[in-house]
């Protein structure tokens, strides 16, 4: 192939890449644009493509009215449940890998939990939460997200832990660590890249959940996706609030992708490769 042809090929690929990226980005741009448009611009026909100014009223309203607490609630529930699920899932995965606890049955039973569509168990879970008196509490949501992310965490961490050479752990045991300490001082650092990737995803799952938040919250711990749907009123649809609240939910994800792309890519591909 000549140098020129190669150059053209690259140019064509770049052009394609640019087009595709634009296509994927546009809806998010549109959402962002709506969040800063004036009411007239939102309901203009034909639509306004570029907002005339950077109008933050939508966001200001959210913070002033306290709606933005929903983002905080999401952060708390997703954050704590991620930590819990990672710790519990990590040690369980270790036990399953190293001691073959429960043989294949336990691992398969755990992963099969992830298969069940949430809606199927939503009502019984609601009743359970009622009897535990944890409807509309952080405890409730945290527990639920922890439980629903556990199978994923165990499945992923199982794969990462399997890769760790056994001799490394044995060496640490001989060197004077207890089994428990080996877990934290050897296994965890050895699988930290996978651990982190899994944690990022666990967080994303909890952050984005809608159905359970819809069913299991009322007012105190409403999460941001539920808050967003609340703006579709019967006689008023608050497009600018929808835009702003959605963006509050999306911005952290943009941050996550921007700073942790490596882990996300890894998490995605590992999930499938390990399977």
């Amino acid at each position: 192939m000549t140098r020129g042809a190669k150059g053209w090929r690259l140019a064509a690929r770049l052009a394609c890449a640019l087009a595709v990226a634009t296509l994927f980005l546009f809806p998010i741009y549109w959402l962002a644009a709506i969040s800063i448009k004036t009411p007239e611009e939102i309901f203009a026909y034909p639509p306004v493509w570029i907002p005339s100014g950077f109008r933050l009223d939508g966001y200001v309203t959210l913070f002033r009215d306290g709606d933005a607490w929903a983002v905080w609630n999401s952060l708390v529930t997703a954050g704590i449940s991620t930590v819990l699920a990672m710790v519990i899932g990590f040690i369980a995965a270790y036990s399953i890998v190293r001691y073959r606890t429960g043989g294949d049955h336990l691992a398969i039973w755990i992963i099969s939990q992830r298969m069940i569509p949430p809606i199927c168990v939503a009502f019984p879970i609601f009743l359970l939460f009622v009897s535990l008196r944890i409807v509309d509490t952080y405890t409730g949501l945290v527990m639920l997200y922890t439980a629903f992310n556990l199978p994923y965490v165990i499945w992923m961490m199982r794969g990462f832990i399997q890769e760790i050479p056994l001799e490394l752990e044995q060496s640490a045991l001989v060197d004077g660590l207890s089994r428990w300490a080996v877990l934290w001082k050897v296994v965890l650092p050895m699988s930290r890249a996978g651990f982190f990737a899994t944690a990022v995803f666990t967080f994303i799952f909890a952050w984005n959940d809608f159905l359970f938040a819809l069913i299991l919250t009322r007012s105190d711990v409403i999460t941001y996706p539920v808050q967003v749907t609340g703006y579709f009123g019967s006689q008023s649809t608050f497009w600018s609030k929808i835009g702003a609240m959605s963006m509050l939910g999306v911005l952290p994800m943009i941050f996550v992708v921007g700073t942790m792309q490596r882990f996300i890519v890894r998490g995605f591909s590992m999930g499938a490769v390990k399977g």
Binding site: P118, C120, F123, P225, G243, Q261, V265
Partner: protein, 298 residues
């Protein structure tokens, strides 16, 4: 201390340790996974509705009702058909994208990051966004089509029964193609370059190279990705909830949307439990079947 007892103690300690490690996970999953499942089965044999709270054994009444429930079967059909359409599109587009980004290119990381974005945002936000996008009047989609078609168009994306599924499909494909893309990109990067070069030297056609080298190499990964996505698609709820709410009528009602309606709108709790059990049963059977097939193939 006798030797055999110290051996026994050591084994006990190890056993205790390994069970201690899985105990929290098993406890949480039992509580949130198994308990509701048992409760679900029990409820499906009782008669609990909005007005009644009858916990006595009620036989298979609700299961019998499943067979005559057209809305149920339609929603199941919607779910399966949508999965069957969306999944191949996501795979194909994901594959093409993976090919595009397989070789090094300037700004590759940035491009991949941008394309990745839809997958990590909430389906609720994705649904709301596309509802805005597809608004026949205030949304940009019709404008773009009008521009391309060179005349005003009036496509009622979230109302017209013929357009509403395509609209949902676009949203779904937009959000989940990146997932396939990333997985296929990883899988393709692992295809043995030397094999490909050997095939090139041997003069193999593109199709043959794909079938004999590329496909076998990415097949295991692809299978798991498809399984994950198929299960996700099967529980499709959020995007439809925000875009159409299952409408017009029940035309975009998936099994999850229908189950929600039955449980949380009609409070036909026993019947919705029967539906849930049916779904879990069918899915389990399906997944076991799929896994068996793959094991045999391997």
């Amino acid at each position: 201390m006798s030797q055999s007892s110290s051996i026994g103690r050591a084994l006990d300690e190890q056993r205790a340790f390994k069970y201690l490690l899985v105990a929290p996970a098993v406890f949480v999953i039992l509580l949130i996974g198994l308990y509701p499942f048992v409760k679900l089965i029990l409820t499906s044999f009782q008669n609990i509705t909005m007005f009644e709270d009858d916990h006595s054994f009620n036989g298979f009444v609700h299961y019998a009702r499943l067979f005559g429930d057209e809305r149920l079967w339609e929603s199941l059909l919607h779910t399966v058909a949508f999965t069957a359409v969306a999944l191949p599109i996501e795979i194909l587009l994901g594959y093409l994208l993976a090919l595009l980004f397989l070789d090094p290119m300037p700004l590759k990381r940035l491009f991949v990051a941008v394309i990745l974005l839809p997958t990590v945002i909430s389906p609720i936000v994705a649904g709301s966004t596309w509802r805005l996008m597809f608004d026949h009047r205030f949304g940009p989609v019709n404008q773009i089509i009008a521009f391309l078609a060179g005349g005003e168009v009036k496509l009622l994306w979230t109302v017209d029964p013929f357009l509403v599924w395509p609209a949902i499909l676009v949203a779904e494909v937009w959000q989940w193609t990146p997932f396939m893309f990333l997985i296929l990109l990883a899988a393709l990067s692992n295809v043995d370059r030397e094999q490909l070069e050997a095939a090139q030297i041997d003069g193999a056609s593109w199709l043959m190279t794909f079938r004999k080298i590329v496909l076998p190499a990415i097949a295991p990964v692809l299978f798991v990705a498809v399984l994950i996505r198929a299960l996700d698609l099967f529980r499709l709820f959020d995007v439809i909830w925000t875009m159409t709410g299952g409408g017009p009528g029940t035309r975009t009602e998936t099994i999850s949307v229908y189950a929600y309606q039955m449980a949380f709108r009609e409070f036909d709790i026993s019947y919705s439990s029967a539906i849930a059990f049916l779904v879990i049963f069918a899915l389990t059977a399906l997944v076991i079947f799929a896994l068996r097939r793959v094991e045999i193939a391997r």
